[in-house]
């Protein structure tokens, strides 16, 4: 099956942000463009403050509250998902990373994505009691293999 698992819409979801906003009666502004530009060139994770900094580096004038409010909107459109790192700070998951939960090592601070079979396994554990796990919002903390042997 050569069926592409990734459709164009999945690959370039950012291209249509403007239209998606329009469709909901929302507006396309320079500030939102700055945020989207940064996100479009980000794969994986980015924290709120990091995003703000990168927007500012892009000359566009943005203020934190605007960035956070824009992120709320983008999350409603399903373009990003937010979670909280091990230290509780906000962390936005972009692209493929938005689909998976994460494993966080308490010792070295690194993190990994939870792959599909394991995500399903976790979901199954709680499916029995009727609880539908949101796989993208799961962060499991522990100690990674390397740190354990070290």
């Amino acid at each position: 099956m050569m069926s592409p698992r990734v459709t164009p819409a999945d690959r370039r979801p950012w291209d249509s942000v403007r239209e998606q906003l329009h469709d909901r009666g929302l507006r396309w502004t320079p500030q939102r463009r700055a945020v989207v530009d940064v996100l479009a060139t980000t794969e994986g994770h980015i924290t709120g403050s990091e995003l703000i900094e990168r927007c500012r580096a892009r000359e566009t004038k943005v203020v934190p509250s605007t960035v956070y409010r824009t992120l709320d909107v983008l999350e409603q459109l399903g373009l990003v998902r937010h979670g909280h790192g091990a230290d509780g700070r906000e962390e936005f998951h972009v692209g493929a990373a938005a689909e998976h939960g994460h494993l966080h090592c308490d010792r070295c601070g690194r993190h990994w994505e939870i792959d599909e079979p394991r995500a399903s396994a976790v979901a199954e554990v709680f499916g029995g009691i009727g609880f539908a796990v949101d796989p993208s919002h799961v962060t499991i903390v522990g100690v990674c293999a390397e740190c354990r042997t070290a």
Copy 2:
């Protein structure tokens, strides 16, 4: 060996805090007493700011930084564990609640403890790749049975 699974130290861990501190060369101060007093009468969860407020209500003069620093110390003694609620704010788990992970419903905001068999099941999922899950630090987000049918 009828080894009791719960020793007196487990049941009343707060009684010996002072000694535990002493053993590590740490000190017993009015502020720490206030924090411990509040925690000793708390079962389950408490947020940082809630704890501060309750300490202040106890007449003792405490300042936020001291409370948070005291919590760090108590966490090192294993008397509390901290996690982060769905909104990322700090949440301290006290007593029995410190032992379990939590299930959080994104819709109604309620949460439940993850029971032993299920905690083990989750741990097992990642044991295969050498990752040792810290069961007390797990918070799984999703939608609970009630909200799903509603």
